[in-house]
């Protein structure tokens, strides 16, 4: 399909960001917003076309394209070229990102009151960075987009957040740069020591590897850990997770939606691309560690989630807890677990994005996110309550909703896993099973506290959802229900990729 170009998909948001920033563009909020929404809708449809024409039986990358500058590839003399291509996993993440940006722009109207030009261009810049990251075939191009995404996040959080947002954004950006430094260090080592074996100076992710015959085990583990720190920071996994609830609780509502929609995906994508594909043997060695780390994630973040005073922090910790399932699924080293892990990251982005949409509706009306000052809102906002109920059930993993299939797959995968420590694996799977009950606990606690307890005096005159909000939430709920009923529609897209990765892992 010649009209489907990944370059256009990635660069179009940057172009639109520049158009919005251009001095001659009208500085009128309605015009800017409409322009942005129209573009985001078209962009989403364009991304969906990739899925329509995607050949699910194909192994490897599709839609390959190279970005050249007047016929020159980017850094040819260093073996780096701006090549792009997507496989099933990347394509799903790309579509999810465009969808989340669209939802964010629809929810931005009521929350963003100033600096419209800057806001919309930053959102598009961020979208571009995330899309480029998913499509990059080259390690350093991946890193360019990875770092490029930090700058918009800093401004989005600090400029439109509450009074503490600036410090939180600074803390996050600085911590992320430190994590990126580890990532960059690992990449530089990998880049050169791959060259030393193969004599081809390249940074193409598919061809990179560090041959275990040439380098000592500790050195490979060292490089592996560098990558792991970089990605664990972004996912976020426990130990590196503090930034996520921190900036989520301080930034404004649309930014919450945007962040919850992609952080997990980018981190998991990095883990799959680098830690699994480039270092399969080290990953096998680390699998038990990662499995325990995943369990700690589930239990610890879930327990913390219940005691949080703010709704935003509560939901953020709930999302961190869900990332533990992803880790558990990846470390099973079998196809069931792997499929479940990828599906879980998509599903959790979708579900928590929807939860933040609900929170944004509530925050707009009540101007507070403290759980003690909310309560019983369901009586005055019935539409909101019923839609939120579907989303909360989805987050728990109720059958026929989106989170059910991945959790089932992950726990089955853990039971079937062929790791050496059989007893530990079985115990881990059992704890994971029990952890679903924990997740039910904190999600239902959140739902009960916000919607069902005694209605406070000052909230008696709250209005229910506006038609636009209802439409956005219904669209999200429909997606959640559809993917819950028909999970194979997602899994089919990346099944060929997962079989490749499992082949690599079996070696």
């Amino acid at each position: 399909m010649s009209f489907l170009s990944l370059i256009w998909l990635i660069l179009a948001p940057i172009v639109v960001a520049l158009i919005i920033m251009f001095p001659k563009f009208p500085n009128h909020q309605v015009k800017i917003r409409r322009f942005a929404k129209w573009f985001a809708s078209l962009h989403f449809v364009y991304a969906l076309l990739f899925l329509v024409f995607f050949d699910t039986s194909m192994y490897g990358m599709s839609f390959e394209k190279e970005l050249t500058f007047f016929g020159m590839s980017w850094l040819k003399s260093l073996g780096i070229s701006a090549k792009f291509g997507v496989d099933g996993i990347a394509l799903l993440f790309v579509i999810l990102t465009t969808f989340v940006v669209l939802i964010t722009l629809f929810m931005s109207k009521i929350h963003i009151r100033s600096k419209h030009k800057l806001y919309y261009s930053l959102v598009f810049l961020l979208e571009s960075a995330i899309l480029g990251l998913f499509c990059a075939k080259d390690m350093f191009v991946f890193f360019v987009f990875w770092e490029l995404s930090l700058i918009p996040i800093y401004f989005l959080v600090s400029q439109w957040g509450n009074s503490e947002a600036r410090r939180a954004a600074m803390r996050y950006t600085f911590a992320a740069f430190v994590a990126n430094m580890f990532l960059f260090f690992g990449m530089l080592i990998l880049y050169y020591y791959n060259f030393a074996i193969s004599n081809v100076l390249t940074a193409n992710i598919e061809t990179l590897n560090m041959d275990s015959k040439f380098y000592p085990l500790w050195f490979q583990i060292f490089v592996f850990v560098n990558f792991l720190i970089g990605f664990a920071m972004r996912v976020p996994f426990v130990l590196f997770h503090n930034w996520y609830p921190d900036i989520q609780s301080k930034s404004s509502a649309p930014v919450n939606i945007l962040l919850s929609g992609f952080v997990l995906n980018t981190g998991v994508y990095g883990l799959i691309r680098f830690n699994i594909q480039v270092f399969p043997e080290i990953f096998k060695l680390f699998a038990p560690v990662l499995m325990i780390w995943g369990l700690v994630n589930i239990v610890y973040a879930g327990a913390i989630s219940i005691v949080q005073p703010g709704v935003k922090k509560m939901v953020s910790y709930a999302q961190i807890s869900t990332t533990g399932f992803v880790m558990l699924g990846l470390s099973c080293l079998n196809s069931v677990g792997f499929n479940g892990a990828v599906f879980a990251s998509i599903a959790s982005s979708l579900v928590f994005c929807s939860l933040f949409v609900v929170i944004s509706c509530i925050e707009f009306r009540t101007k507070t996110t403290y759980i003690t000052s909310l309560g019983g809102i369901g009586q005055v906002m019935p539409k909101c309550m019923y839609l939120a109920l579907i989303i909360c059930f989805a987050a728990i993993g109720v059958p026929f909703l989106v989170m059910f299939t991945p959790k089932l797959l992950i726990l089955t995968g853990a039971m079937l896993s062929n790791l050496d420590q059989q007893l530990m694996v079985k115990i881990a799977a059992f704890i994971g099973l029990c952890a679903i009950a924990v997740s039910a606990g904190y999600i239902m606690y959140f739902f009960y506290k916000v919607f069902c307890s005694v209605l406070l005096e000052q909230w008696k005159k709250l209005k229910d959802l506006s038609p636009q909000e209802t439409a956005v939430l219904s669209a999200l709920c429909l997606t959640i229900v559809y993917l819950g009923i028909n999970p194979m529609s997602i899994i089919n897209v990346y099944q060929s990729v997962s079989s490749i990765i499992l082949d690599i892992l079996q070696v």
């Binding site: 003399s77 350093f140 360019v144 600074m170 430094m181 530089l188 050169y192």
Partner: protein, 484 residues
């Protein structure tokens, strides 16, 4: 006569033109009064442009000598000369406002300025230690004289340390030079390296003396580049000096010193394995100390002083793992550094001239007054910090990949350098952060400072442009490094 013309046209053409224009400036100062002070600027600009054009007429394939082989001209030196001249071109435009305030000394300023450029160019071309010493000394003299242009009360006190330390370091250089001469009775780099290549000599001569004299020689470069044992002069001197002169000190001597230091290291590389580690250590300590000091600075000039120190540290780290690959990465880094540095200084000069903004707290709320300045300044700062879509990222990638491929020994140094770079990112980020603050101070901005505005836009555009078309420039740098 014919021989002289031939020598000039093959090897010495740009320097010759600069000399002519220095003389024109001196004579013009005799015939024109203060009223025509702008004339000096145009004379200087014309001289620089002509010198730039004349570099294309040099016969540099493979190389040409002048003055009995004491002056070398090849692709490597011409690369540095072009960079120095581009720097000079921008700096002349940046000194506009300073000259307007001191009209009576305009001709004097530009005469000293041009001779500084001249000696920077000659430094790169030097082939023996005597010529090198003379050029370096003259280059420092021009710096001292430029520093004396500042009239603020504490300026003399602040810049005096530079003069004293510079004098001490020069005498150390002379001592090292005399020791080397005592060892082998040669001053030419090639001859000295040939002398020591003879294995029987190495057994009879004490090696420790050679290392000691090299250390003494290297001190002067460490001083000019603001590297660690000699970096204490930088922040004070920058605080005392005028803005365009800070920009001058942070770019022209850096280019000249790296040009000649690379050549020296290549000449003496085989005899000083331990020097490699020492250099890496110096570089890493500079990066860490510079970046840790930079994050506490309030004054923009002091911050930029530490920034220069850190950038030279990164370049030294690339230089000390000596290979053609790493040399080309250093050349590319210098190329990117020049544009980013000039861009940052032009932004700072612009802010100072138009609204007297000097410290980070003055910059608060600037975004709401001049969004396009702020955007261009942000891009340039991101380039200096080495972040993604700018030339800084590519140059950092290149130089650190050169360090990574030089063996296990350098990996810890690389790690520490990367940590220092992250700290430095924070230092640059503080400037960006304060420009985006919500506090609304009534900054009054004068719109008439045009030349520095265009330089700022040009440099911010150039940093992105270099990033996209980096391949061509990297190939050029590899060619240049190969020819050295």
């Amino acid at each position: 006569m014919y021989e002289i013309i031939n020598m000039i046209s093959t090897a010495y053409f740009p320097e010759f033109i600069i000399i002519v224009f220095v003389l024109i400036n001196i004579f013009a100062s005799l015939f024109f009064d203060t009223h025509f002070y702008k004339l000096s600027k145009w004379i200087t600009l014309l001289g620089i442009v002509l010198a730039l054009a004349s570099t294309f007429y040099l016969q540099i394939d493979p190389e040409a000598y002048a003055f009995d082989g004491t002056f070398l001209s090849n692709i490597y030196t011409v690369f540095f000369k072009i960079l120095i001249l581009i720097c000079g071109f921008f700096l002349v435009l940046l000194s506009r406002n300073m000259i307007r305030e001191k009209r009576d000394r305009a001709f004097e300023y530009f005469t000293v300025f041009l001779s500084g450029l001249l000696f920077a160019m000659c430094t790169v071309s030097a082939t023996d230690f005597v010529g090198l010493f003379v050029c370096l000394e003259a280059l420092s003299l021009s710096c001292y004289m430029l520093l004396s242009f500042t009239k603020s009360p504490d300026a003399k006190q602040l810049t005096f340390g530079y003069l004293i330390q510079g004098a001490v370091v020069s005498s150390l250089f002379l001592l090292g030079l005399s020791l080397i001469y005592g060892l082998c009775a040669q001053v030419n780099f090639e001859q000295i390296s040939l002398y020591f290549a003879n294995a029987s000599v190495m057994q009879t001569q004490p090696q420790i003396l050679l290392t000691f004299s090299l250390v003494l020689l290297v001190c002067t470069f460490l001083f000019r580049l603001g590297l660690v044992p000699f970096s204490s002069w930088l922040p004070d001197t920058f605080k005392g000096a005028s803005y365009p002169i800070c920009a001058y000190i942070s770019s022209v001597p850096v280019l000249a010193c790296f040009g000649i230091l690379a050549k020296l290291l290549m000449t003496f590389y085989n005899y000083t394995f331990t020097m490699k580690i020492v250099f890496a250590f110096i570089a890493v300590v500079t990066i860490i100390l510079g970046s840790l000091s930079a994050i506490r600075q309030e004054n923009l000039k002091r911050l930029m002083a530490y920034s220069m120190s850190v950038q030279s540290g990164i370049m030294l780290l690339g230089l000390c793992v000596f290979s053609v690959y790493s040399l080309s990465s250093v050349l590319f880094y210098l190329f990117c550094y020049v544009f980013a540095n000039i861009g940052a200084w032009s932004a700072i000069i612009l802010l100072y001239n138009s609204a007297r903004l000097e410290s980070l707290s003055d910059l608060k709320g600037l975004w709401y007054h001049r969004p396009y300045y702020v955007m261009a300044f942000t891009i340039v700062l991101i380039a200096l910090a080495g972040l993604a879509p700018t030339s800084g990222f590519v140059s950092k990638l290149y130089i650190f990949s050169a360090v990574a491929r030089s063996g296990f020994v350098f990996l810890p140094f690389l790690m520490i350098a990367l940590i220092g770079c992250v700290v430095m990112i924070y230092a640059y980020w503080r400037i960006i952060r304060s420009m985006f603050r919500r506090i609304d101070t009534g900054i009054e901005i004068d719109n008439h400072v045009i030349s520095s505005k265009y330089i700022l836009y040009a440099c911010s555009f150039a940093t992105i442009f270099i990033c996209l078309f980096a391949d061509k420039i990297i190939r050029l740098c590899q060619l240049v490094a190969y020819y050295m």
